[in-house]
C-alpha cells in the first residue's frame, strides 16, 4: 500500500467555512468549474465511466427481469452512479473494507464481487452469491442504518490490530434518522477509527423527501456533533466525489479518524420495483433533476475534454450490456437452493 501525500487544498475544511453549498468541480454541462484544479487523470475517467455504464445496464436488466417475474424486488442505482463510483474509486479493495447499504451495486462489483454472483443473489441463488473469502465486503443490508455500527466495528478492529485498511461505508438520507446512525457516528468519533462514511442524499426515503426527514440544512453538519470533519459534495460530480473521498481516506489512513461525506444527488428512478413515485413526486421535479444526470455529465466531460470519443463510449455501452448478459447466463446456471438450505449455516456445524 502506498502512502502518497497529495498536497492539495483541504476540501472538508474549506466546505466547513463556506455557505453550505455542496462542493462541485464538474458542472452539469461537463465543464470543470474549479479552474485551479489539475486535470483529472484520463484513466480515472475511463474506469469510472465504464462502471457507471455497467451500473445502468444492470439497472435496466434487473428491472426488466423483475417485470418478467424472474427476479424479486430491485433497487436501482440510477442517478447516484457518480456518488457511488466516485467515492469507491478512492479506496483500495485489496486492503480496504466496503460496507454497503443496499443501492451501491457498482461499488460492490469493483470491490471484487463478481457480477454473476451479484445477479445470483438477486435471483435467490444464495450459495452461489456467497461473498468470496478474500473480498472485504459486507453483504447488502435490509435494515436501514444497521450496517453502520458494523462498519465502525470493522474500522475499530483494524486500528486495534494495527492494520492498514480503511472502511468505506454507505447509507442513505433516510438512514441518518435512525438511532444506529447516531450511535455509530458517535462511537467512530470517540474511538477515532479509520472510517469514511458516505451519506447518499438522494432526496428521498421511499416517499419521504429529505425536507421531512430532517430540518437540518445539510446532513454533513451532523459530523461536527461527533467531533470529526463533515463535507457536502455534489454527488453527481464524479471528480468532487473522488477527490473529497480520497482526502478522507488519506486522513483515515494517517490515523486522523473518520470523515462524513454527504453526496447530494437524486434518485432518478423508483425506490424499488414495487414503488410508484408518481404518487408522491412532481414530474417537473424529476425533469429538473434529470438535467443533473451524472452519467451524461461525465460523458459530456469525457467527450468535451477529448478523453473518449462518442463512438468509444458507445462501444463501452455495448460491452457492458454483453457483460451483463453473460453474467446472467452464468448466474442462472448456478443451482437454485434446495429446501435443506434453510437448516444450514444457522450455527457452525
Amino acid at each position: 500500500m502506498t502512502h502518497v501525500k497529495h498536497v492539495t487544498r483541504d476540501w472538508a475544511a474549506e466546505w466547513a467555512t463556506g455557505g453550505g453549498e455542496p462542493l462541485r468541480f464538474l458542472g452539469p454541462d461537463g465543464g470543470l468549474v474549479q479552474p485551479d484544479l489539475p486535470r483529472p487523470p484520463d484513466d480515472l475517467v475511463r474506469e469510472a465511466l465504464r462502471l457507471m455504464l455497467l451500473s445502468r445496464a444492470l439497472d435496466e436488466k434487473c428491472t426488466n427481469l423483475h417485470r418478467q417475474g424472474r427476479l424479486g424486488l430491485y433497487a436501482p442505482v440510477q442517478g447516484q452512479e457518480a456518488a457511488v463510483v466516485g467515492s469507491h474509486l478512492a479506496i483500495d479493495p485489496a486492503v480496504d473494507w466496503l460496507v454497503p447499504a443496499s443501492r451501491e451495486q457498482p461499488a460492490m462489483l469493483r470491490h471484487g464481487w463478481a457480477l454473476d454472483r451479484m445477479l445470483a443473489s438477486f435471483l435467490g441463488r444464495i450459495d452461489a452469491a456467497r461473498i468470496p473469502d478474500h473480498v472485504r465486503m459486507l453483504p447488502r443490508q435490509q435494515s436501514i442504518a444497521a450496517q453502520l455500527p458494523h462498519a465502525v466495528g470493522i474500522a475499530w478492529a483494524t486500528s486495534i490490530r494495527g492494520l492498514d485498511g480503511v472502511t468505506l461505508a454507505y447509507c442513505g438520507d433516510g438512514a441518518t434518522s435512525e438511532g444506529d446512525f447516531h450511535e455509530a457516528c458517535n462511537l467512530a468519533g470517540v474511538m477515532g477509527v479509520p472510517l469514511v462514511l458516505v451519506v447518499i442524499n438522494n432526496q428521498y426515503a421511499i416517499s419521504t423527501p429529505v425536507s421531512r426527514q430532517t430540518r437540518a440544512t445539510r446532513l454533513a453538519d451532523r459530523a461536527r456533533g461527533y467531533g470529526f470533519p463533515g463535507v457536502a459534495v455534489d454527488g453527481d460530480d464524479l471528480f468532487a466525489m473522488y477527490e473529497v473521498t480520497r482526502q478522507a481516506v488519506e486522513r483515515a489512513r494517517a490515523g486522523q479518524g473518520p470523515t462524513m461525506i454527504e453526496a447530494v444527488t437524486y434518485r432518478m428512478s423508483f425506490h424499488n420495483t414495487s414503488d410508484n413515485p408518481s404518487l408522491y413526486r412532481d414530474p417537473s421535479e424529476v425533469a429538473t433533476a434529470g438535467q443533473n444526470d451524472p452519467v451524461a455529465r461525465l460523458v459530456a466531460y469525457a467527450t468535451g475534454a477529448g478523453v473518449m470519443r462518442p463512438d468509444a463510449i458507445e462501444a463501452v455501452e455495448a460491452e457492458v450490456r454483453a457483460e451483463v448478459e453473460a453474467a446472467l447466463d452464468r448466474a442462472l446456471s448456478h443451482p437454485a437452493p434446495g429446501p435443506e438450505e434453510i437448516f444450514r449455516h444457522v450455527f457452525a456445524d
Binding site: 435494515s143 434518522s177 426527514q213
Partner: protein
C-alpha cells in the same frame, strides 16, 4: 364507509382507520410514508387528504415513532402508529417493552396509553429478511401489552376499531399475505360487539386446530383436506387476541374435541404455541389427548423468499400432524 361493504382485508384496515378518525378527532396517524404515499401497502391511502393535519409522515426512526406516540397519548391524543414491517419493531423494542407497556403500572394509573401500533407481518410474499418475521411470542412475553391479529377482513375492521378504542397499548399485527387475498363485509357499525376473545372458524368434532393470523387459512385448507381425504372433521379456532390469551375459550373448545394441534408461523422454540400447549395440559390433562403437536416454522432465520415454502407451516405439515394426533387414544 358506514354502509356494509365487500372489501379486502387491506380495505377493511383503511375503513377502520377512516371511521375511527371520523368518530374521534383525537385520533391521529403517524409512520413512515403513511401520508402522501398512503403507506407501502396503501393501507392509509387517502387519509392524508381526508384528515388534514392528522396524518404524519415521520422520519425513518422506529424508536421515535413508538416513543413519540407515547408522548402524543400523554398529551391527549389517540395515536395510531404504523411500523412499516413488524420486523423493524425491534428497532423500537426498548420503547415498546420498557415504556409503552409500563406507563400505567409505573405511574399507578396517572398515565395510560391508548396507543395502537399497526404492523404488517408474516410470510408468503417472498419478502426480504425481517419483512416477514413473526414476533408475536416475544410481544406476548411483555406484560402490559395487548396483541391482536385478524385473519379476516371483518376482524381487521372490528379488531382495529377495538384496538384504537382500547385505553391501553395494543399491537395490531396485520398478516400482509392476506391484505388482498381475503375479502369480507365490513360491519355496518364500527362499534361491533364481540371484539374480544377467540373465534371458531370451522366446526368439526374430531380435532381442534388452534391458530391465528395467516396460518388460520392454512388450517382451514388443511381441515378441508382432512375431511375430504381422511374423514377427519377438524374445528379451527382463531385465537385473534394473542395477549391476553382467551384461555377460557381455548380450554372449552379443546375439551370438547380432545385432540389439538397448534399452528403458527413464528419459529418453534419459545413460540406462542408452547404457551398454548402449556396452558392446555395444565388445565385439561385428564380430559384431552396428549401430546398436543405444534406445526411451526423451524428454528432458523427466515430464509430468502425462494425458500419460504419450506419454512412456513404448510397445509401438508398440518395434515400430517393432525393425522398423528388422530392416531392417539
Amino acid at each position: 364507509m358506514r354502509a356494509e361493504k365487500d372489501v379486502t382485508l387491506l380495505e377493511a384496515v383503511r375503513a377502520a382507520l377512516f371511521d375511527a378518525m371520523e368518530d374521534n378527532d383525537r385520533v391521529v396517524l403517524l409512520g413512515q410514508d403513511v401520508g402522501r404515499l398512503g403507506g407501502v401497502f396503501r393501507a392509509t391511502e387517502g387519509l392524508h387528504a381526508q384528515f388534514p393535519g392528522r396524518v404524519f409522515d415521520t422520519p425513518l426512526a422506529e424508536g421515535a415513532i413508538v416513543g413519540s406516540s407515547i408522548g402524543l397519548a400523554i398529551g391527549g391524543l389517540v395515536p395510531v402508529a404504523e411500523i412499516q414491517f413488524l420486523g423493524f419493531l425491534h428497532q423500537a423494542f426498548h420503547q415498546v417493552t420498557q415504556q409503552l407497556a409500563r406507563y400505567r403500572f409505573r405511574t399507578r394509573g396517572r398515565f395510560h396509553l391508548p396507543v395502537t401500533i399497526r404492523a404488517p407481518y408474516g410470510g408468503g410474499l417472498r419478502m426480504p429478511e425481517f419483512h416477514p418475521d413473526s414476533l408475536e411470542s416475544q410481544l406476548a412475553n411483555v406484560p402490559g401489552l395487548k396483541v391482536v391479529t385478524p385473519a379476516f377482513a371483518e376482524d381487521a375492521y372490528s379488531l382495529l376499531r377495538a384496538a384504537i378504542r382500547d385505553p391501553d397499548p395494543v399491537l395490531f399485527l396485520e398478516p400482509q399475505r392476506l391484505y388482498r387475498s381475503v375479502r369480507g363485509r365490513v360491519p355496518h357499525d364500527g362499534a361491533a360487539d364481540g371484539d374480544f376473545g377467540a373465534r371458531m372458524r370451522r366446526d368439526g368434532d374430531d380435532l381442534l386446530l388452534v391458530s391465528w393470523g395467516p396460518s388460520v387459512h392454512a388450517c382451514l385448507a388443511a381441515a378441508d383436506e382432512l375431511e375430504e381425504r381422511h374423514a377427519v372433521r377438524s374445528a379451527v379456532l382463531d385465537l385473534r387476541w394473542l395477549s391476553p390469551l382467551d384461555h377460557a375459550r381455548l380450554h372449552q373448545e379443546a375439551a370438547v374435541r380432545r385432540r389439538v394441534v397448534v399452528v403458527h408461523e413464528g419459529v418453534r422454540t419459545a413460540g406462542l404455541g408452547a404457551e398454548v400447549v402449556a396452558s392446555l395440559q395444565e388445565s385439561l390433562c385428564d380430559t384431552i389427548s396428549l401430546p398436543i403437536l405444534r406445526v411451526t416454522a423451524p428454528d432458523t432465520p427466515y430464509p430468502p423468499g425462494r425458500l419460504e415454502d419450506a419454512f412456513l407451516p404448510s397445509q401438508d405439515k398440518i395434515v400430517e400432524a393432525a393425522l398423528k394426533v388422530m392416531d392417539r387414544p
